[in-house]
């Protein structure tokens, strides 16, 4: 571009100050710049941008990467408390049941529930102590106040000796036990034998 034309376009010269041979070029440049200004003001057509972006996206980002990007992008999840508790409860059940009472428990899950009871209407408290709990007395309950104290224990297979403790100090042998053993201290322990089922092979 001629220097004087540039100065004209920059507003430093008028068209009259230009030599005659440059006036045609200056007018052509001015018309071109007017077209550019008009295009910029009106903006690109509405269809152009999404079409271009779609073409670029498909061409450059594979599906797995878009999937990873979707997973990694932080999102806000809004959950009401009640359904959240329900989901937690179902999850906890699914985890807990197979390890406690589920019929499809794993071979290592051999817990047995045992209900032990003692009639002691005059006792104000009854506890059970045995080698299943290191002889640390565990309180029994008499929910309906009829003098029958009971406890439901979850034990693993084994042979256990135990006694009841009345009012924190009086040791009593379970009268309902199937078997007994001398405790070596002058008392009789009740014996609870829980062994795995299964015939001999």
């Amino acid at each position: 571009m001629h220097e004087d034309v540039q100065r004209y376009l920059d507003g430093e010269l008028t068209i009259e100050e230009l030599p005659d041979q440059l006036r045609g070029k200056a007018a052509a440049w001015e018309a071109l710049l007017d077209d550019v200004r008009m295009t910029a003001a009106s903006g690109a057509p509405a269809w152009l941008e999404p079409r271009v972006l779609k073409a670029v996206e498909v061409a450059s980002v594979p599906a797995w990467r878009r999937g990873v990007r979707w997973l990694m992008q932080p999102r806000t999840i809004r959950v009401a408390p009640a359904p959240a508790f329900a989901a937690l409860a179902v999850l906890a059940l699914a985890i807990a049941l197979p390890w406690t009472v589920g019929p499809s428990a794993s071979p290592g899950d051999d817990t047995v529930y045992v209900q032990l009871f003692l009639e002691a209407p005059s006792a104000s408290s009854v506890a059970i102590a045995g080698d299943f709990n290191s002889w640390a007395p565990l309180e029994l309950e008499d929910m309906d106040g009829d003098g029958v104290w009971s406890a439901r224990l979850a034990v693993s297979p084994g042979v256990y000796e135990y006694m009841f403790v009345l009012d924190g100090s009086r040791w009593v042998t379970d009268p309902h036990a199937e078997r007994y053993s001398d405790d070596g201290f002058g008392n009789r322990n009740a014996v609870l034998a829980i062994l795995p089922e299964g015939s001999r092979t």
Partner: protein
């Protein structure tokens, strides 16, 4: 008034809505609490010796601790001694009596260990030591142990052997009964049920030896369709005397 009459139903509506959601939350909370409070299985656990011995004066506690420590140094499995110590302590047994009981118990466990050898477990040791404590001869214990290679069968047989002898059955007859049970591949429940079957016949007037013979004679009775052995409905009901 009109404002109040409009407000009251609105409050009432809110009241009826809130308790429903609270009840729902409460139910879920209760469910979770129930899950958290499911009883964990009670398993044999070794008591804390220091805590157990804290029930005794320092000098006596030291004597008891010294005995158990000596046993441990000698390679003795001390779990059962610890349990017995805890039992004696919580029952309020005097230290000198507890020490004597521990020494006697350790001697029985040692004998049981020598009979069972490498296959001894805590459970089978305890059952075998109990049988020895009932005065069953070692050769009887050894024979019964030999025909029960699996640990749970061994334990069941030892428990049954102790019960049979406690019911008055002579050790050699109890041994024969258990050998018969092993030969017939009876399961643990059947073996553990043998003493109850003997006691049933004793209650009917049989002598222990006759009761055991009766149980042995009827050991082959077929099971009922539900899998329960017909233990008591026997053809001969009169005592053999």
């Amino acid at each position: 008034m009109s404002t109040r009459s409009k407000t009251v139903p609105s409050r009432g509506a809110r009241r009826s809505a809130r308790p429903r959601s609270r009840r729902g939350l409460g139910a879920f909370g209760a469910m979770i609490i129930l899950l958290l409070t499911l009883p964990a299985p009670l398993r044999p656990q070794s008591p804390d010796l220091d805590e157990v011995l804290s029930r005794y004066p320092a000098a006596e506690a030291m004597r008891l601790e010294a005995f158990i420590t000596q046993q441990r140094w000698d390679g003795f499995p001390t779990e059962l001694l610890l349990e017995h110590t805890a039992e004696g302590a919580v029952k309020g047994v005097r230290a000198d009596r507890l020490l004597a009981a521990l020494e006697e118990y350790a001697e029985r466990i040692d004998r049981a260990h020598r009979i069972l050898g490498e296959r001894a477990t805590i459970t089978s040791l305890e059952a075998t030591a109990d049988v020895l404590g009932r005065g069953v001869p070692e050769d009887v214990v050894r024979t019964v142990a030999a025909v029960n290679p699996r640990d749970d069968h061994l334990t069941a047989s030892m428990v049954a052997l102790g019960d049979l002898v406690a019911a008055g059955v002579p050790p050699d007859q109890a041994e024969n009964l258990l050998l018969d049970a092993a030969t017939r591949r009876q399961d643990n429940d059947d073996v553990l049920g043998l003493p109850a079957r003997v006691r049933h016949w004793i209650r009917q007037g049989y002598q222990p030896t006759d009761a055991a013979a009766e149980v042995k004679r009827t050991m082959d009775f077929p099971r009922q369709p539900d899998g329960v052995m017909d233990r008591y409905n026997r053809p001969r009901q009169d005592p053999p005397f």
